[in-house]
Symmetry: D2
Subunit: 282 residues, 4 copies
């Protein structure tokens, strides 16, 4: 493990008002992806590609198994309602704090007033851009905090009566913070990030996705750059959309020189020409 | 699909105070297990076993892949804290009601007074056998209900202000009911049932496990009987325990006749003798 | 199950020279996808979409969990080298014929002479378009057949000596046919089809993918159409390619009328305009 | 990573005549299991258990998620027929050498004459204890080698004609060696080892399982010891068998002193008494 990555271990990346993400351990780096790919392709790929080029080629062509050879282990503190969305990503290992064994802590998520917003009308599942007037937002935040305090006070009261922890906690709200260890391979982490960095994801999980994205960028810089280029900032056009696009295209002579101004070079330029010819123009 | 199973479809099995399990659809039955096994073993197993015998043989010997060939789809209504334990079983498909898209309903789990019990001292994660005095239990139940009503009233108030649903719901407690479709194969259902029928599982999830167990028994009676005999009611003895057992055993002449009084016959009796000889007595 | 689908059950779709795919059982149809989605979205989606529209919306927006609610069970006869590629799709259930329990059969894949082709120079993993001269191809095919016969004769000879089946079979070639039951949900089937209908997949597995695609089309016509539009015949453009595309686009006034000539209507047209504005033109 | 484990990295453990297992990388050790468990159980378990005791407790009680927090990456060279059994363990990551990209090598598994044995009559899937007479075994081995040489010579001939690699290789036998990177967590590795160290597994995969078992023992000595005690060398008794056992037991006064002679102490002794009382004697 490089010194740079070693120094990253254990460092808390603050998320929301009381949460965090910490990288606990990591197996592999950019080179581990290349190493695994070379086993697959045998002498076939030797020397043809340098590491960065091979990593980009692999991701562009959905040869994702070498990316499974890098593994991350995070320690995360997060509100229960975020945990409920997060856990839907099944290809990961999890150890969560248990409210049956231990007392839940007096820590609850209260949204920043900038996030206290009205229901979106265009997006049935999200909040609008429009915030509440500041004093109204402050009032809502205060109301939420009071309700959390009341819930926790009742929880404490029930525990003092010696009610079993597993029952006493059932009226704690989903804004209560929990913690877990979460371990995932890079391919599946990319899938998580793609869905959770997306602006349609709930803001509160986006915050965690961004933090893990920064950690991943530090650990596997080439792979993360490829992820941004080919997955995160790519756009998929449907069969119908490709026809529309086609009708809107100037008949440009697609030379490698022309394409190089956009950063498309060599094999990547030729692949673009193929897409253009085969899919767009027919 | 047999008439009997068709009649089971859609039937609500009540769980807890407001929840249920319903079988929405099922693929396969006992015969589908046999059919898949015969593909694996080819002519090797033809006619040697009748269906029940083959199913029992397969499960006893951990040949579990044919059990994956039967698939169940359930519709379940359950409190969020039960859902959080349930979802840890990753080899399943889930579609859950979304508090981002839709309003959460005014339905919360309130434990029956028989379940309002003190913390267990022997089992750090559970409740004791000992209930509270009835009037105290009633008071605790009432306190819980009041707190749920207050949470829901606040939720309604926030929605009326047009606060985004995805934020408004964060102070709803984990006793709130949610719903999902849950689809799983029989092998993984058995694994779920084994862990969740277990007395160490939280009582509230045991209730659902028992309901699904009854449904599974109706759909795959032979497989379910084998599950009870070889998994649910089996006991594993460790290397050390086997030595202890050995020292405590009478030197009985282990004839098939002797064993048949316990229901151990034929191959199953011979397998027992092998275990006894190889593991217990050496 | 509809009559149409019932009639499909058990029907052999021939693949390659001696293989097949048969649909053994299926759980769910287009409506099962809608049914599961409506549980997720609650009253939020009621009546807004008719079934086809909702299915297309779900797939376009990567809301893939409802597609996991449909399950297919296939019986497949296939050469071992195809099975070795196929099994890499892990999210499926498999029961394969066992060469330890039973004798392998005297059935081997011999490529049609149209498939006996030279190594591709552009595609390191595939064959070129260019076939061998017919007489040379025939000779190669014959040579392959002879070698298969010799292997099988030796296998028989070893079995006659009573050599254990699990050892005797180790010199049978990967062209030998095997059989399995393979069960998978629709979401994961789509993923399989996308990768294996692709022209970069080995021809021999493409044949099976096409057969299963036809079966899926019959069982879930709306979902399959959406799969073709949004996944199979879609094209993804990278961050760099989007810039190149942008520079090549005529400044067309993107009205809904203009887009409707390509089949892009309503929400789908507006989504295209969003992609065009946000990703292409900035 | 400890020095001891660092020295293990890359070391070849020979398997069969030409294969090997090498540990390429590992994340975590015994302490990582404890660390994850303590997150789950919170202050509840602090100081109650030392590491070894906690690990044993966890495995004995099927609290397996902390074992998923340790990850192994192996480089393995193995015959294709072994790879076909191995790959059935789906919860792992794999990058295999590709016969489409690269030439298969002239390396084939030839069983040692001690393994050239007759078909078992009691075990339909395996070989008997009984070997062939030495000269006959030698003759069979020689016959196998000749057939492998002939297959490889034909493969070379086809490649020289420039037949596409992906077709030319289809008549290579399943005794041909392949290579892969295989990454798996400790919980799933234990499951693999349990099934593949078992005497009913094919001998050739047992060899690899034993090699990986030795590596795991070096990396996680406490966890491996617990695996041997509670899983590998444990025996499960069915409901019927428990009744039979019960009738055969001396009525011994089960004191902790009596049990300590078998290594059963403290909590583990009390658990045994519970099993004895609840399951055996009623």
């Amino acid at each position: 493990m490089s010194d740079e990555i070693s120094q990253l271990l254990g460092k808390e990346f603050k998320c929301l008002d009381k949460g965090f993400v910490r990288l606990v351990d990591v197996m592999g780096d950019d080179h581990a992806i290349v190493q695994a790919a070379r086993v697959s392709y045998g002498s076939g790929t030797k020397k043809v590609h340098e590491d960065r080029g091979l990593i980009r080629y692999l991701l562009r062509h959905l040869h994702t198994t070498p990316f499974e050879m890098v593994e991350f282990k995070f320690h995360v503190k997060l509100p229960i309602f975020v945990a409920r969305q997060w856990i839907r990503h099944r290809t990961a290992n999890v150890n969560e704090y248990s409210g049956r064994y231990s007392e839940m802590k007096d820590e609850f998520y209260v949204p920043d007033i900038s996030q206290i917003r009205v229901q979106s009308t265009s997006n049935k599942q999200g909040r609008a851009e429009q915030a509440f007037p500041p004093d109204e937002a402050v009032a809502i935040g205060k109301m939420m905090e009071n309700s959390q305090s009341a819930s926790y006070a009742e929880y404490q009261q029930l525990l003092e009566k010696d009610l079993a922890r597993e029952i006493a906690r059932i009226n704690l709200p989903v804004s209560n913070y929990t913690e877990w260890y979460w371990k995932i391979d890079l391919h599946n982490l990319f899938h998580f990030l793609k869905l959770r960095i997306d602006p349609h994801a709930q803001y509160e999980i986006q915050v965690y996705a961004h933090a893990m994205g920064e950690i991943a960028r530090a650990v596997v810089p080439h792979a993360y750059e490829a992820f941004e280029d080919y997955i995160l900032h790519s756009t998929k056009f449907s069969r119908l959309e490709l026809k529309a696009l086609s009708s809107m295209l100037h008949k440009v002579e697609l030379t490698e020189e022309y394409l190089s101004q956009f950063g498309l070079k060599g094999r990547e330029a030729r692949e673009f020409i193929d897409k253009y010819d085969l899919k767009i123009k027919d």
